[in-house]
């Protein structure tokens, strides 16, 4: 889709197409971070409304997909930060609450192993969790991740490598505890 599609009287039709093209990818990008469907839905709406309001000023310095991912990522991180500040809970306790809610969530489709994996991912710092999710679940190229997150490819590779090792170690620890 070119930027010109969003100028003039075709703007709405073009944007409608854009929503249909990117809604799923952006939804899952957000959902992996917030875990809860309702929160993901709200953030996805915010993302597209910000895109709608900002598309007239978008000059195509980056790809449309990169621009949308940036908006979605910022919305998500702002939401999580605000949630943490409003709850006045210790950092690990907020993640604990998120995991507890996930277990009871009607839209959680995973088994015990999946729950343990989510618990391990939640133990990562937010930015590292983002990197892990984008590489592990979306298999996004590091170059694209670099454009979205504004971090060098080298730093992202290191971050992902550490995150993977940490999660692997956490899952093995869980397994050892189960056997004992």
């Amino acid at each position: 889709m070119s930027i010109e599609s969003f100028r003039g009287k075709n703007k709405h039709a073009a944007f409608s197409q854009l929503v249909r093209l990117y809604q799923e990818r952006l939804y899952w990008h957000i959902r992996k971070m917030v875990l809860n469907h309702d929160d993901a839905n709200d953030l996805l709406q915010n993302t597209f409304m910000k895109a709608w309001n900002g598309i007239d000023n978008f000059r195509g310095e980056s790809q449309l997909s990169t621009w949308l991912y940036k908006i979605a990522t910022n919305e998500t991180l702002t939401f999580l930060s605000s949630k943490r500040n409003n709850n006045t809970l210790p950092i690990d306790q907020m993640e604990g609450n998120m995991l507890q809610n996930l277990q009871a969530d009607a839209f959680f489709d995973g088994d015990e192993a999946q729950l343990k994996l989510q618990k391990a991912i939640l133990s990562l710092p937010e930015k590292q969790r983002l990197v892990f999710n984008m590489r592990f679940y979306e298999e996004m190229p590091y170059e694209q991740m670099s454009d979205i997150l504004g971090t060098s490819v080298g730093a992202l590779k290191a971050s992902y490598h550490h995150a993977y090792k940490k999660i692997e170690s956490s899952l093995m620890e869980d397994e050892r505890n189960m056997l004992n």
Binding site: H12, F15, S16, V19, R20, Q23, E24, Y27, W28, R31, K32, L35, H37, N41, L44, Q45, F48, M49, W52, F107, F108, D109, G110, D111, Q114, L115, L117, Q118, F136, Y137, E139, I167, E168, L171
Partner: protein, 95 residues
Amino acid sequence: MINNKLPFKTPDHYFENFALQMDKKTAPPQTINFRRRKSWFYAAAVIAAVTVLGGARYYTTQKEDQKRYADNYESYVLSQVDESSMIDYYINNNN
């Protein structure tokens, strides 16, 4: 072994509904079709004018009727009184 299958699901038809919802939120405001509305405005204006004029006519007619009735009544009363009684009345009232 960790697999990368996501353990989340969405409500049924979520994405179709979401896209439609966004279509509505970003739809341009509807412009009023003045050509179709014009005939309604004219009709409303005619009805209003007829009501006002009709009301004014009715009021005027009522007043005229009342006056005519009053005049008729005076004439009627006067016709019931003979001339000598009338003269006596005027003489007595002027004194």
